[in-house]
């Protein structure tokens, strides 16, 4: 079935799949956002416990989606994996640390004799939710602003900046993208928690918090959107694969791929709608439109970076070292095999949804946590 598709179709299909997993990951960073809310909106220990336990049941979902995102990128675009991970070394090591410390925090936070103390594990959660998400945003930002690397004739990467990737954090665009993701994650975190918890006072605070965090995200989002309209981009010549700078490349991409523009706009509207629903009505179900909106918005951003003859991981120092979905991908055979594997993804999503429908059929309460010795 997939074997008869030509290579470029498979490459586009895989950019779609990777984008989808990446977008789902961004949606699931509501866990990270929720972790940072711990510092700002909890009143007492009960409220904190409720938040931690609600997030603690989902953190692995986010973590898993990050692992799947990494695995899928490795299998489908190994040149990106090699160039970015091995090149922008310190950014990825920092992101890695931010996620390692999260993985133990829920389980160890309130266990007796936990060596580091409850506050340290909560600090780990905060670092994960703030620095971790910020740096992921910075890394995605380089899809548009470019990085400092060259590839030799054997496609082996040489990084040309001594900060090994951390230099990306000095770009206003990358930083804005990162901060937008941080506040988006907080918005989503507040929306998710409002829907998952039963606690009148806390839910009211969460409903207000999602709105406030969206307001904080707005300036950064606007900066990113305006930059998309104005900035030059890395265009690929489809005939020979060479890369040149093109004025207003990303604006052109939006105009030349109207469906993508539609995705972006619908996505953003849905996020706003979700927040408004929670803020101005009695409903607590804003997470659903906002979550869908997040996925659509991120999909549009990934498509903007990779489709329409665009270099998705451009090199600032040597344009022709830039990675495109065509020169960075796996072979036709591997993409074909992986496409068969991807057929299982709907099934996987179905059982994950089924499990969580069962698990979330009742809202989480203080009483339940008090009775459960396994609570975090």
């Amino acid at each position: 079935m997939f074997g008869s598709l030509d290579w470029s179709t498979l490459q586009q299909l895989w950019w779609f799949i990777v984008s989808l997993v990446g977008s789902l990951f961004v949606f699931l960073t509501f866990v990270q956002g929720g972790q940072t809310l711990l510092l700002t909106i909890t009143g007492d220990e009960d409220e904190k416990t409720l938040i931690v336990n609600s997030l603690g049941r989902k953190w692995e979902l986010t973590f898993t989606s990050l692992v799947v995102f990494g695995g899928a990128l490795f299998a489908s675009f190994p040149l990106f994996y090699a160039s970015s991970f091995g090149g922008a070394y310190w950014v990825w090591i920092a992101i890695l640390f931010a996620f390692i410390i999260q993985a133990v925090s829920y389980e160890y936070r309130r266990k007796p004799n936990n060596f580091l103390g409850q506050k340290t594990y909560e600090a780990f959660m905060f670092i994960n939710g703030s620095v971790g998400v910020l740096l992921i945003g910075v890394a995605i930002g380089t899809f548009f602003t470019g990085s400092n690397f060259t590839l030799n004739d054997y496609n082996l990467v040489q990084w040309t900046h001594p900060l090994r990737g951390l230099e990306a954090a000095f770009s206003l665009f990358n930083l804005s993208f990162g901060l937008f993701l941080v506040f988006l994650a907080r918005t989503l975190g507040a929306l998710y928690l409002a829907n998952n918890l039963e606690h009148e006072n806390l839910v009211a605070k969460l409903k207000a918090s999602s709105f406030n965090n969206l307001l904080c995200a707005l300036p950064f989002l606007l900066y990113v959107l305006i930059s998309f309209v104005l900035m030059d981009g890395y265009a690929v010549n489809p005939a020979d694969g060479t890369v040149v700078m093109e004025a207003n490349k990303y604006l052109n991409n939006l105009l030349q791929m109207p469906l993508n523009l539609f995705l972006l706009l619908v996505g953003l509207v849905l996020v706003v709608l979700g927040v408004m629903l929670n803020r101005f009505t009695a409903s607590v179900r804003g997470i659903w439109p906002a979550g869908l909106g997040t996925v659509l918005t991120c999909l549009a951003i990934f498509f903007l970076a990779g489709y329409n003859n665009t270099a998705f991981y451009p090199s600032k120092v040597d344009l022709n070292s830039s990675l495109t979905i065509y020169n960075a991908s796996s072979s036709h055979y591997t993409l074909t095999m992986m496409s068969y594997v991807a057929l299982t993804v709907p099934f996987v999503l179905a059982y994950v949804s089924w499990v969580w429908r069962q698990m979330d059929s009742k809202k989480l309460t203080i009483e339940e946590l008090a009775a459960d010795k396994k609570s975090y």
Binding site: R57, K58, E60, T64, V67, V68, G70, G71, A72, F74, A75, S76, P78, Y81, A82, F85, G86, G87, Y89, W92, I93, L96, F97, F99, I100, I101, A103, V104, E107, Y108, K111, P112, N113, N114, F115, L116, D153, Y154, N155, L156, V157, W159, R164, S330, S331, Y333, T334, M337, M338, V341, T344, V348, V352, V355, M359, K362, E368, D372, K373, K374
Partner: protein, 511 residues
Amino acid sequence: MIEQIDLSMVGWARATFALTALYHWIFVPLTLGLSVLCAFFESIYIRTGNEQWKSLTKFWMTLFGINFAIGVATGIILEFEFGTHWSNYSWIVGDIFGTPLAIEAILAFVLETTFFAVMFFGWNRVSKKTHLFSTWMVALGSNLSALWILVANAWMQHPVGMKFNPDTARFEMQDFWELISSPVAISHFVHITSSGFLLASLFVVGISSWYLLKKRHIQFAKRSIAVACTFGLLSSLFVAFTGDEHGYVTARTQPMKLAAMEALYEGKTPTGLIAIGLINPNKKPGDDQDAFSFKVEIPGMLSVLAKRDFDGFVPGINDLVYGNAEQGLMSTEEKIRRGKLAVASLGDYKKAKKNGEHLVANNALSVFDQHRDYLGYGYLNSPEEVVPPVALTFYAFRIMVGLGTFFILLFLVYGYLMEKKQLENKPMILRLGVLSLFLGYIAQQTGWIVTEVGRQPWAIQDMLPVTVARSNLDSGTVAVTFFLFLALFTVLLIAELKIMTKQISIGPEGE
């Protein structure tokens, strides 16, 4: 392909990877086995309806959860490290290697973590049967996860189903089924997962023995031992059987590793097995010194194990390094000569293609095609480089096998004493049971040392040496990361052990 090789950088990158992998492997085998044991315990609870079995299940699940969290944390590091520390590798073999990693994430890890949440928090949220199903799914997911990771690792030990593409300068997959059905992958998987079952059985037996020694939770401990001891005995027998098979496969696919495991320098017919030996530290390949200062040898045994034939020839290190015409073994020097031709002709091909010189490119390509099988050897400088650290591999192997044999006896003794209802009256045996928990971890770690140290200098056996597989980083950068990881791992390990021992001392009644 590679201009300047910073050997100390490669050393740090290897040290970092070894540190992460060995640390990760403290937690993984317990996850593999304890998930299955928890599923057994819960199945008994569902069948009998006895709440004590539920309490027992929940106690072991608590320990499972503490262990699982840190296993997850370290697993993601390994995935990232292929990119950060071995970026050339990620490109050169990513077309093949990435696939099992991605499948592991999509098909196994998601299964494991999704049902993990139900297993832990679903006791009052889903039906009993759904809960039991979830526990089994966690066991299935974690072992499936191991399957795909071990398929990937086995491919590094015995690369099959791929071809080098000179245009992209990488190996590309040709046959995925060959990867999965590789004899190394199969023997790797069955040996290693069953060793995880063995470790988890030792874990349950060890902690339960401690309770019996302390005269606490006696009924609980006996029940746990009854299940774990049966599972452990079957697992340890299976580990021995699959270990033998794994050795036989290694003899065919990685003869140098086998020679290092046995510190065998000169191949003979028949070849004896060194049961116990003290290696002469001054021994070098090609010299005429004795390999051992002391040894106890079983005549012909290695021939039987490695070749299934008493008269089978098992090549030694010298045969593999310097060649053995009689046995049809090419010298490493000749392989390096051919490899250098492959490297040079690949360079010529790339250059000519860039300059549009098609005839020159075609000529270079035909030279490359003649020598492509030796490409990896082209990056070595001396034949002796293909010899892995012999003493470490030799001793690690003996510790692993010795302990594996001891565990079979231990479970037999435990089974006998349980049957005779004498176990709680045998404090020496119970102490041995507690000690064996730690020995189990040593056996696990030494197993991986044999597997990974024994294949040096290769990242991919015979195809890609570690000196080429590395990232283009300076050694200072990698050294800093090594110490950051070391500090973090140490802190997390202390936290894990303190929490774990506290939960054990609280015991099941604390549930």
